[in-house]
């Protein structure tokens, strides 16, 4: 691929659960500063792919490289050694992950949620981490809810805290797994606005979403997955308006 250096490279990634293969050798490249949107029917392996990228699931085969660093492996001479959990955790701190169900820490305030990883994973001084966390929450429009606990926030606000929490590690890549699908329709907009701003700011992102209009608007590349394979990929207008693969056509006809 020409153009900017790749930020995320996925090569031949396979993953099985209980003998059933759900990713059949995925190849995918995301250039630095690009936004890639992953579409596909339920069960097609979108979440599993994102989780394999940050090694929440270890792939059974294949390689993932993020910003030049091989995930979960280390090259020693002519071999690749599996990294231990501790090292993988360090690698993960460079990848932001936003979950469908937020998974905020309910016993910590919004501010503490955001400041947790900088202190715990990057060993930043607490005062500095809290200052930066407050700034991040302000950026996602929650500067006045720093001391609220997650349960005291609306779904959209919770997801914005989760985005701020992912941003607090100054990640090289942000992975979003259906960030709006647990939200009421009127709350979707506020979350998409935040993601849109990040996209404009040049953050590399992989976004799984079912919001077609949003996908078209922010995506540099749209990837369509079906049954554990990438069926089709390309610029949004090509994939969304003139899909070549029948599966893509059938899927798009359905969601429209």
């Amino acid at each position: 691929m020409s153009g900017p250096a790749p930020m995320v490279e996925v090569r031949g990634v396979r993953k099985s659960f209980g003998g059933v293969e759900v990713l059949h050798g995925i190849d995918l490249t995301v250039a630095a500063g690009e936004v890639t949107v992953i579409l596909g029917p339920s069960g097609s392996g979108k979440s599993t792919l994102l989780r394999a990228i940050n090694h929440l699931e270890r792939p059974d085969a294949g390689l993932v490289r993020v910003d030049g660093a091989l995930m979960g492996l280390r090259r020693v001479g002519g071999r690749l050694h599996e990294l231990r959990e501790r090292a993988v955790l360090r690698q993960r701190a460079r990848i932001g992950f936003v979950f469908q169900n937020f998974h905020l820490f309910p016993h910590l305030t919004a501010l503490e949620n955001v400041a947790e990883a900088p202190v715990g994973a990057l060993r930043r001084p607490r005062a500095r981490a809290r200052r930066e966390a407050a700034a991040l929450l302000d950026r996602v429009g929650l500067g006045d809810r720093l001391d609220a606990y997650p349960r005291q926030l609306s779904g959209g606000q919770q997801q914005r805290v989760a985005i701020a929490r992912a941003l607090a590690l100054s990640p090289r890549v942000l992975l979003f797994d259906e960030p709006t699908s647990a939200l009421d329709p009127e709350l979707v907009g506020e979350v998409l606005t935040v993601i849109r701003d990040l996209a404009r700011g040049g953050t590399t992102m992989l976004v799984v979403t079912h919001e077609m209009g949003f996908a078209r608007e922010i995506a540099d590349t749209v990837v369509f997955m079906d049954q554990g394979r990438i069926v089709e990929q390309g610029p949004p207008d090509a994939v969304l308006d003139r899909p070549r693969h029948p599966r893509t056509r059938a899927f798009l006809a359905q969601v429209r």
């Binding site: 940050n54 929440l56 959990e85 501790r86 955790l89 360090r90 690698q91 993960r92 701190a93 460079r94 990848i95 992950f97 979950f99 169900n101 998974h103 905020l104 820490f105 309910p106 016993h107 910590l108 305030t109 947790e116 990883a117 715990g120 994973a121 006045d144 809810r145 001391d147 609220a148 606990y149 997650p150 349960r151 005291q152 609306s154 929490r165 992912a166 590690l169």
Partner: protein
């Protein structure tokens, strides 16, 4: 509980459908009367009064002897020993229990097996049997040594010196407690949503911190009520070490009534102390539970002290007076994001 406002005529049972709503809204509402409840309440009060009267007047209770011994030095010493046994038993027991719980949840089959076996063994052996084993340790092993396993020994101790009766009791109680604590802690940990662990891992938090900062504080909510049960039951269970002739509270009162024959008042001395200390533990439990309930409810309930202070500042009769002829309840504006709503979440 409010006193009944003056009775007023109720609207007719079958009011015509086109009855004027505005007029209905002006009629006072008479609260339902619970005659059965009042009767039962009165009965309980009478029975309680009778019981208390019996306590005070029946000479068999021998209150003078009770008061002689309640604060006697020997009794206080025994109470202190009971507290120590409970404290060390709990502290060591739960420390080991957390360790065992984490081992049982680890990915290492060896650690899992060891923890499982421990829990199995120590829940199978009656505490009293175990205590007697420890007490007789010197009989099994005259000396204990510290050194390389199967290799040279660097230090040796006389078992008798190292494991006196107090140490034997603490070890026995702690080992026993650890088996139960392990299961309680494990239960709390597995009840925490696995997404929490995953989110912590996605943020790259080190394992130990995931556990200490994310999982355990949430697990504590489930652990605390059970742990409090265990501690209170251990506290009273310390009376079992009287088999080792250790002068804890129960042993001490037995010694005293063995000497003077005043069984009932001395049992009351022990009972009162157990009640007092259990009450203290219960209050502590309540406070600790509140501490770990942070963020668990949308609107946290104020603590007992705050409630009491507010009640004193604004007694119920004042509230009732204020309510007369005021806006209907629920009319207060309640917008999310107001400063009050936020203050509710602040620590």
């Amino acid at each position: 509980m409010s006193s009944a406002p003056p009775a007023a005529p109720l609207p007719a049972q079958h009011a015509p459908l086109n009855d004027d709503f505005a007029e209905l809204a002006t009629l006072p509402v008479v609260p339902a009367r619970h005659y059965g409840r009042w009767l039962a309440g009165a009965l309980v009060v009478v029975l309680t009064a009778q019981f208390l009267h019996g306590l005070a007047t029946n000479p068999g209770w021998d209150w003078p002897t009770f008061f002689d011994y309640l604060l006697a030095e020997s009794v206080l010493k025994a109470v202190w020993l009971t507290i120590q046994l409970t404290f060390y038993g709990t502290a060591l027991g739960f420390t080991l229990g957390v360790l065992l719980a984490v081992m049982r949840l680890s990915r290492s089959p060896v650690l899992r097996a060891v923890a499982w076996t421990y829990v199995w063994a120590f829940r199978s052996i009656p505490l009293i049997v175990q205590l007697l084993f420890w007490f007789n340790l010197a009989y099994l092993y005259r000396e204990l040594g510290l050194g390389i396993p199967f290799g040279p020994v660097f230090w040796t101790f006389e078992t008798m010196h190292l494991v006196g009766p107090l140490a034997a009791a603490v070890i026995g109680l702690a080992l026993h407690q650890a088996a139960y604590a392990a299961e309680i802690v494990r239960g709390g940990i597995i009840a925490v949503d696995s997404g929490q662990r995953e989110a912590a891992a996605a943020l790259g938090l080190p394992k130990a911190r995931q556990l200490r900062r994310i999982v355990l504080p949430q697990a504590m909510r489930g652990i605390l009520p059970n742990a409090a049960n265990e501690i209170i039951s251990l506290f009273k269970g310390t009376s079992i070490v009287s088999v080792m002739a250790l002068g804890e509270l129960f042993y001490q009162v037995q010694v005293i009534y063995g000497r003077n024959g005043r069984v009932v008042p001395l049992l009351m001395v022990a009972t009162v102390w157990y009640i007092v200390l259990t009450t203290v533990l219960t209050v502590v439990q309540h406070a600790v539970e509140r501490r770990f309930a942070r963020g668990a409810e949308r609107e946290p309930t104020p603590g007992p002290f705050r409630r009491a202070r507010e009640a004193l500042q604004r007694p119920p009769w004042a509230a009732r007076l204020a309510r007369r002829g005021q806006a209907p309840p629920g009319a207060a504006p309640e917008a999310p994001g107001t400063p009050e709503a936020r203050a509710g979440g602040a620590r």
